[in-house]
C-alpha cells in the first residue's frame, strides 16, 4: 500500500453567503472515510470542491501527492465518482454513457463493466431516462468503479434507494475494496450507510468538521452510563457529552466520548450509585455529536 495519502485537504474553505465549509482532513491509501452530517452540512459542496466543480476560496487539495489545480486531468483519471442523485445523461443510451465515460479513463475495465451489466441485467440499449431509480444508481456505480480508480468520491450513493439495493451497494463496494483496494470518501446523512464500510468517520455539521475518528475508537471511547443519585452531581463538563438528571426518580444518564475506568471512581465520589455502563451504537454517537451545543 502506498505511503502517499490518497487525498489531503488542508485548510480548505468554501463560502456561500453566510455558509462556510471548512475542512482539514486526510484519506490514506486504501482507507474508507465516511463523512456524515445532516442535510445542508456541506457534504455535497465538499465533493464538488474535490472534483473541481466549484473552486474553494482558500486551502489546498492534493490527490496522491499532486496538486488539484495543477494536475486536474491526471488526478481525475485515477478518481471515480458518484455525484448527488447520480445525474447521468438522461437522453443518452446506457451503453453509450459507459462508452463515453470509458473514453476518458486509461484503465477502463470493460470485462468488469460487462460482467456487472450482465449481473444487474442492465439493458445498454435503453436510455438513462427509461431506467428505474435503482438501475440508474447501478449504472452510476458502474461508471464510478469501471475505471478501477485509486480513489472513489461517492456523494450519497444510496440516497433514495430501497434497503435491498443499499445492501447490494455495500457488497459491491466491499468487492471492489477486496479486488483493487481503492481509497473511498463516502458521504451520507444515514449512519447505517457508512457504518458497514468506513474505517474512519468524519462528522460534519454546518460546514465544520466536528470529529474525525476511527470506527473502533468511536466504539471504544463512547459510553452511556446510567446511575442513581440524590442530587444533581457536580461533574467536569469536559468529560461528559451529555448529562441528564431526573430529579423526581433520582436517575442520571451520562454520555462520555473519552471512556476510561477512572470515570467510575469520580462518579462514585460525586455520589452516583447503581452504575451501569453501555456501549453506544454509531447511530447514537451521531445523534450526540450532531446535537447543537446547549
Amino acid at each position: 500500500m502506498s505511503e502517499t495519502p490518497a487525498l489531503e485537504i488542508e485548510q480548505m474553505e468554501k463560502r456561500y453567503g453566510e455558509f462556510s465549509l471548512r475542512v482539514n482532513v486526510t484519506v490514506r491509501s486504501g482507507e474508507v472515510l465516511g463523512v456524515v452530517g445532516p442535510n445542508g452540512s456541506g457534504k455535497t459542496t465538499l465533493i464538488r470542491c474535490l472534483l473541481g466543480l466549484v473552486k474553494p476560496e482558500r486551502g489546498r487539495i492534493r490527490f496522491f501527492g499532486l496538486d488539484l489545480e495543477r494536475h486536474e486531468v491526471a488526478i481525475k483519471r485515477r478518481v471515480g465518482f458518484i455525484l448527488e442523485g447520480a445525474p447521468l445523461f438522461r437522453r443518452v443510451r446506457a451503453g453509450d454513457v459507459l462508452r463515453f465515460c470509458a473514453g476518458f479513463y486509461p484503465h477502463w475495465d470493460w470485462d468488469m463493466v460487462r460482467s456487472w451489466m450482465h449481473q444487474f441485467q442492465l439493458d445498454g440499449s435503453k436510455e438513462v431516462a427509461e431506467l428505474s431509480k435503482g438501475m440508474r444508481a447501478q449504472l452510476g456505480l458502474i461508471v464510478a468503479f469501471g475505471s478501477r480508480p485509486d480513489l472513489l468520491l461517492l456523494d450519497e450513493p444510496t440516497a433514495g434507494l430501497d434497503p435491498g439495493t443499499r445492501r447490494w451497494f455495500v457488497e459491491l463496494a466491499r468487492g471492489a475494496l477486496a479486488d483493487f483496494g481503492p481509497a473511498i470518501l463516502l458521504t451520507s446523512h444515514i449512519m447505517a450507510d457508512v457504518e458497514d464500510l468506513a474505517d474512519r468517520i468524519a462528522f460534519l455539521r454546518q460546514g465544520e468538521l466536528l470529529l474525525v475518528e476511527s470506527k473502533e475508537r468511536l466504539c471504544q471511547n463512547w459510553r452511556r452510563i446510567r446511575g442513581r443519585c440524590r442530587a444533581r452531581p457536580r461533574l467536569d463538563s469536559n468529560e461528559w457529552v451529555a448529562i441528564e438528571y431526573e430529579a423526581i426518580c433520582g436517575e442520571i444518564h451520562l454520555v462520555t466520548s473519552c471512556w476510561q475506568e477512572g470515570l467510575l471512581d469520580r462518579l462514585w465520589e460525586a455520589g452516583v450509585t447503581e452504575v451501569t455502563v453501555q456501549r453506544l451504537s454509531l447511530e447514537e454517537i451521531y445523534s450526540y455529536v450532531m446535537r447543537p451545543p446547549s
Partner: protein, 281 residues
C-alpha cells in the same frame, strides 16, 4: 490575462508530434495536418460524438432539420432544372438555407447544453478527466460540425444549380460557401460560448436574440433614404470593383479571414471565461 493553458495545449500537440512522429519524406504541412487531425480526433472522438450522435434530442432535432432542408433543396433543384430558373433563385435559397443552418445548429446545441445543466449531467461532464479548455473547444467544434451537416443540403442546391451556368458561376458558389461557413463559425462560437458560460436559459435567449438582431441595425440604417442616396453615390463608381473584390480569391480570403478572426476572438474570450469560472454547477 493571456491564457497560457490554451497556447500550451496547442503547442504541446504540435511540438510533441513534430519531434516524435516525423517520418522521412513527410513535409511540415503534412505534419501540421497530422497534428490538427490529432487534436480534432482527441476532442472530437468523445465530446462531438456525445452531442451529435449520442444525445437523442440533438440527434432527432438535426434529423428533422436535415429532412426539412433536404426536402426544400430537392424542390428547388427540380424547379431549377425543369423550369430553368435564373441562377439567383437557387443561389438566394442556398444563401438563406446556409445562413439558417449556421444559426439553427448552434442554437439547438445551446438548448441541449442548457438541458444538461438543468438536469445536472453537465456536472458529470465537467467532473470527467478532460480539461476545461478541451471541453469548451470540443463543444464549439461539435456545434460547427452540426452546422456543416445542416448546411450541406442548402449548398448542394447552389452547386447543382450552377452546373448549367458553366465555369462562370463557380466563383459565386465558392463565395457563398466560404461566407456561409465563416458565419457558421462566428455564430457557433458565440452561441456555444454563451451557452457554456451562463446557466440561465432566459439570459441565453436574450443574448442570442441581441447578437442576431445587432447586425440588422446597420442594415436598417442603410435603408433610410438619405443614407441610401449617399451610399449609392459613393459606391456606384466602384460597384464593379467591389463586386470583383468580393468574387476574387483575395476578397473571399479577406471576408472569411475577418469572420474567422472575429470568431477566434469570441472563442478566446469564451475559453478565458469558461476556464476561470468558480462554479460549474
Amino acid at each position: 490575462m493571456f491564457n497560457n493553458k490554451c497556447v500550451w495545449f496547442a503547442l504541446e500537440w504540435f511540438v510533441h508530434g513534430a519531434l516524435s512522429r516525423r517520418l522521412p519524406g513527410r513535409t511540415t504541412c503534412s505534419i501540421l495536418m497530422h497534428q490538427i487531425g490529432c487534436i480534432l480526433r482527441t476532442i472530437m472522438r468523445e465530446i462531438i460524438r456525445h452531442y451529435l450522435l449520442d444525445d437523442r434530442h440533438y440527434r432527432r432535432a438535426m434529423l428533422v432539420l436535415i429532412g426539412v432542408f433536404s426536402a426544400f433543396a430537392g424542390v428547388m433543384v427540380t424547379l431549377t432544372f425543369t423550369y430553368e430558373l435564373p441562377l439567383w433563385y437557387p443561389l438566394l435559397f442556398s444563401a438563406v438555407a446556409s445562413l439558417g443552418a449556421g444559426f439553427i445548429a448552434p442554437v439547438v446545441m445551446a438548448v441541449v447544453i442548457q438541458r444538461e445543466k438543468a438536469e445536472g449531467s453537465f456536472q458529470l461532464l465537467c467532473a470527467l478527466p478532460i480539461s476545461k479548455e478541451r471541453l469548451f473547444f470540443g463543444t464549439v467544434l461539435a456545434a460547427v460540425v452540426g452546422s456543416l451537416v445542416l448546411w450541406l443540403p442548402g449548398y448542394a442546391v447552389a452547386v447543382l444549380a450552377s452546373i448549367p451556368q458553366g465555369v462562370g458561376a463557380i466563383p459565386l458558389v465558392i463565395t457563398l460557401g466560404v461566407i456561409a461557413l465563416s458565419l457558421s463559425c462566428v455564430s457557433a462560437s458565440f452561441v456555444v460560448t454563451i451557452a457554456l458560460n451562463t446557466s440561465s436559459p432566459t439570459a441565453l435567449a436574450y443574448v442570442i436574440a441581441l447578437f442576431f438582431a445587432l447586425p440588422q441595425l446597420p442594415a436598417m440604417l442603410l435603408l433610410s433614404e438619405r443614407i441610401e442616396e449617399k451610399l449609392h453615390a459613393l459606391l456606384e463608381p466602384h460597384l464593379w470593383t467591389i463586386m470583383n473584390l468580393v468574387l476574387s480569391i483575395r476578397g473571399q480570403l479577406l471576408v472569411a479571414g475577418g469572420l474567422l478572426l472575429f470568431s477566434l476572438l469570441i472563442l478566446f474570450a469564451g475559453v478565458q471565461l469558461f476556464s476561470s469560472k468558480r462554479s460549474y454547477v
